[in-house]
């Protein structure tokens, strides 16, 4: 075959172009650390990396969800632990109150402690995580126990009081005076405070202390003029008075708690087929009677206990089995949270390992082998220089250079 300058030129240029492309490719690999820049460089590695990346993103999202679930469960577990501690105290208070040797002052003090405990329990039920009431179910923005009842400022006198039908009062004719410490639920704002001469609807659970004497039974819901009847704080114990609770007369106690009535699970996805419920609503099966909410039951029990303590030793003792049952529910709930926590922790461990493996595989599939690339680049550079040099020399030489006429 005859080789002409054009043949040499074409071959040289084509070879150098190929070398240049290789150098360009290697240069890109070295500067980006990726073995491919666009899908056509290596379609198979591109699609593998995309699938792996999608799996990694998903894993990271599940991992974030698992962390968030862990925090939720931590907060829930913490609240339950506090409830259990509170319950221990309440049990010992109950045992103490079951003694006949206590004076009524002692009982009042204990009852007040119980009532404080109920407030604390309510606050625990109102525990929030990231702005959500964790025991509220789907009503995540409504406090399960509405804000603590406010105290009635001193100096307010009410001339009449509206009581529901069936309420029995042991005395009539006395002025009702709200004294500091009286509980009104919901708390009236200071501007909406009833002024003297207006009617006031007393919230459920309010205890009215009346002087001993006559008994009045209301035939219907009505505003009853009770001039001079004194409504003191719940625990007022003036000599010679009988404490009568409105609870026993037709009012639903503690209806102000708005805990969910059914399962309202907050479900976190912590794996492709793994979901975990991270909230408690009190309706989970913790051994309570079907259809009842054990958190609700526990909260009510504290209100009943306060009344039972003021009621006497035997009434207090009668509360003990119910309180013990509640303690059982709370500890079962704690173990439910523990079980969920274990699942989440386990899932998180798996997700972390998976993410590490995925990262490693992605690096293997898409990462450039820097050592090989660097060595290859050096080789290519040398070959390119050699091609340039030899090309320049060969092209400039022909037989003409040696003709000396």
């Amino acid at each position: 075959m005859q080789v002409t300058p054009i043949t040499i030129r074409n071959s040289l240029l084509q070879n150098m172009q190929t070398q240049y492309q290789t150098i360009n490719q290697l240069q890109e690999e070295e500067s980006t650390g990726q073995s491919f820049q666009v899908p056509s460089d290596n379609p198979q590695a591109t699609t593998s990396t995309m699938s792996l990346n999608a799996a990694l993103t998903e894993t990271t999202a599940y991992s974030t969800a698992a962390t968030s679930a862990q925090n939720w469960l931590d907060v829930t577990g913490g609240a339950l632990q506090n409830m259990q501690q509170l319950w221990q105290t309440m049990l010992s208070v109950t045992v103490q109150a079951s003694s006949n040797s206590l004076t009524s002052t002692d009982r009042d003090a204990l009852a007040q402690e119980v009532q404080q405990a109920q407030t604390s329990f309510g606050q625990l039920l109102n525990t929030q995580y990231e702005g959500t009431y964790i025991f509220g179910g789907y009503s995540s923005q409504t406090a399960p126990v509405p804000p603590a009842p406010g105290s009635m400022p001193a100096g307010y006198t009410v001339s009449s009081i509206m009581l529901p039908s069936g309420t029995t009062l042991t005395s009539a004719g006395a002025a009702i005076t709200l004294v500091p410490g009286a509980i009104i639920t919901p708390p009236p704002s200071s501007t909406a405070m009833p002024t003297s001469g207006t009617s006031l609807t007393l919230p459920p659970g309010t205890t009215i202390t009346l002087p001993s004497g006559s008994t009045t039974t209301l035939s219907s819901s009505a505003t009853m003029p009770l001039a001079g009847t004194s409504v003191t704080s719940a625990m007022s114990n003036a000599a010679g008075t009988t404490i009568s609770t409105i609870n026993s007369s037709g009012l639903t106690p503690l209806s102000e708690t708005v805990l969910p009535s059914g399962d309202q699970p907050t479900v976190f996805q912590i794996g492709q087929n793994a979901q975990v419920t991270i909230n408690l609503t009190g309706n989970e099966n913790a051994g309570q009677p079907t259809g009842s909410n054990y958190l609700q039951t526990a909260y009510s029990a504290l209100g009943q206990l306060a009344q039972a303590i003021t009621g006497g030793a035997s009434a207090s003792q009668a509360m003990l089995p119910a309180l013990q049952a509640d303690e059982g529910y709370l500890s079962t709930a704690q173990s439910i949270v523990g079980g969920r926590m274990q699942r989440v922790t386990q899932a998180q461990g798996q997700l972390t390992t998976l993410a590490q493996n995925l990262n490693q595989t992605i690096a293997q599939v898409s990462g450039a082998n820097m050592t090989a690339v660097t060595v290859q680049l050096t080789q290519e550079e040398q070959a390119y220089q050699a091609a340039l040099q030899s090309g320049a020399q060969i092209l400039s030489v022909s037989l003409l250079n040696y003709i000396h006429p």
């Binding site: 002409t4 666009v38 899908p39 995309m50 974030t64």
Partner: protein
């Protein structure tokens, strides 16, 4: 003694002079594109009967019979056929390598990432369904996903428009070349008809035919009068001195490039079935009518199915703390009733963070189960890999798998075009080298010829000198 020797020397001098001129011309054109090596054919001048020896013939020296141009019809055809193939893969490779950047995956700004981010924002929302910021994040990620779709779509459409411009330019180039070839046909016929040599014109026409063969696949026949007839499939591009021009007309498909047909036969659109199988023009039409619109179609299917799946789920849920069902999340920017495509997809202008339907139950701000159902769409089969329509059965693939397949296809097409182009280029190069070897100028060969010719010339000159000195001694002897 006669002056015959001077005649022989004179012929030799002029023949060698001419041969040196031809060699010089070859050397001068050794790098001229399309130049074909010429040779001065030296032949012995017909001998005449010897005046001294009865019955013997005596040589009369050398003369140039003709100057012939090296040619190899077979290699010329092979090169031109290969030019067409190289041109086809060249234009396809160029178009596809540009589109690779549109599908630059994996990338933090790519569609794959945008889809993941969108569905992950729903997952986050499912955990904090009442959080307005989580809701806003869903809307924002939806907008980012929609705009990624929009920009990819507009980049592909833009690329199709670029290809269209190239189609128009290529058609103009083809027309220019065929007109020039028709003109050269006419000149060549005139020159050869008058008995002259049309070598230079033939070289020029050959170069133009090479250029033309790169643009479209041609076949040709050479007439005895050296004019050439060129055909594209079964249609003639050049017949003797007439060129048949190509024209472009409005595209025949929704997303495509202009249709190309013969001016004389506008009804027959040029495709691979009507003869246009190779060359840059065929490559551009393949890219602009099939490959790129195919990608755009897949992207539209993805956008439409994704919007449909999200909308259906969103419409079955409830908006924040209300008993109102959700409204469509993705809508078309062209009109509310138009189908959603990659170019028109947008988050409904009515979509506020409150209107995101995260809950499956009414009036349940803490319920994120509907958001979870949407978030889980990323991992479940949603689309048919073949038809691109919604398919939630086991034959379906996930949105990201569908897109990954599309990127794989784009990558494979690009790689194939690139590989084919490289190998076509290598084949063309070797064919061109073979042609160059057969018809090109070898400087060394010509240099050797030059030395030979120079020496022959010197020998002939010496002959004159010998004759002269012989004559001088003869004249001296007789004077």
């Amino acid at each position: 003694m006669s002056f015959m020797i001077l005649n022989i020397a004179g012929r030799s001098l002029s023949a060698q002079q001419l041969a040196m001129e031809v060699t010089g011309n070859n050397l001068a054109n050794s790098t001229t594109t399309g130049y074909q090596n010429e040779t001065a054919n030296l032949v012995e001048t017909p001998p005449i009967p010897s005046s001294q020896l009865d019955g013997s013939l005596q040589g009369q020296g050398v003369s140039v019979d003709a100057i012939t141009r090296a040619s190899n019809a077979f290699l010329s055809r092979s090169v031109r056929t290969q030019q067409g193939s190289t041109g086809y893969w060249d234009s396809l490779n160029t178009s596809l390598s540009q589109i690779q950047n549109v599908f630059q995956e994996p990338s933090s700004s790519g569609l794959s990432e945008a889809m993941s981010a969108f569905f992950n924002s729903w997952l986050t929302l499912s955990q904090t369904p009442s959080s307005l910021s989580a809701r806003q994040a869903v809307v924002d990620q939806g907008q980012s996903l929609a705009s990624t779709f929009n920009s990819m779509s507009s980049q592909i459409t833009g690329e199709i428009q670029n290809i269209n411009q190239s189609v128009v330019n290529t058609v103009q180039k083809v027309n220019t070349l065929t007109t020039q070839i028709a003109k050269l046909n006419s000149q060549i016929t005139t020159v050869t008809g008058s008995g002259g040599s049309a070598d230079t014109l033939l070289d020029q026409r050959g170069t133009l035919m090479n250029q033309l063969s790169k643009l479209v696949n041609i076949s040709y026949t050479v007439s005895p009068d050296q004019s050439v007839n060129i055909y594209l499939g079964s249609n003639a591009l050049v017949v003797n001195q007439t060129a048949h021009s190509l024209v472009t007309s409005a595209p025949t498909t929704a997303y495509g490039v202009d249709a190309v047909s013969f001016h004389d036969n506008p009804g027959q659109v040029l495709t691979s079935s009507t003869g246009l199988q190779n060359g840059e023009l065929a490559g551009l039409l393949t890219a602009g009518n099939q490959t790129l619109p195919g990608y755009l179609g897949s992207l539209n299917d993805l956008a439409s199915s994704l919007a449909q799946a999200v909308n259906t789920q969103q419409e079955s849920g409830y908006t924040l703390n209300s008993a109102t069902k959700g409204a469509a999340f993705f809508t078309s920017s062209s009109s509310t009733t138009a189908p959603v495509t990659a170019s028109t997809i947008e988050v409904s202008p009515l979509m506020t963070s409150q209107n995101v339907a995260a809950a499956s139950s009414p009036n349940a701000p803490g319920d994120g189960s509907n958001a979870l159902a949407i978030a889980n769409q990323i991992g479940s089969p949603e689309m048919s890999p073949t038809t691109g329509s919604l398919d939630t059965t086991t034959t379906g693939v996930t949105f990201s798998q569908y897109f990954t397949n599309l990127v794989g296809q784009v990558g494979n097409d690009g790689q194939q075009a690139s590989n084919q182009y490289t190998s076509a280029q290598a084949t063309l190069s070797s064919l061109q080298n073979a042609q160059e070897s057969a018809t090109g100028v070898d400087v060394n060969e010509q240099s050797a010829n030059l030395i030979q010719e120079q020496q022959s010339y010197q020998a002939a000159a010496q002959l004159v000198s010998v004759e002269q000195s012989t004559m001088v001694s003869l004249l001296a002897a007789v004077s």
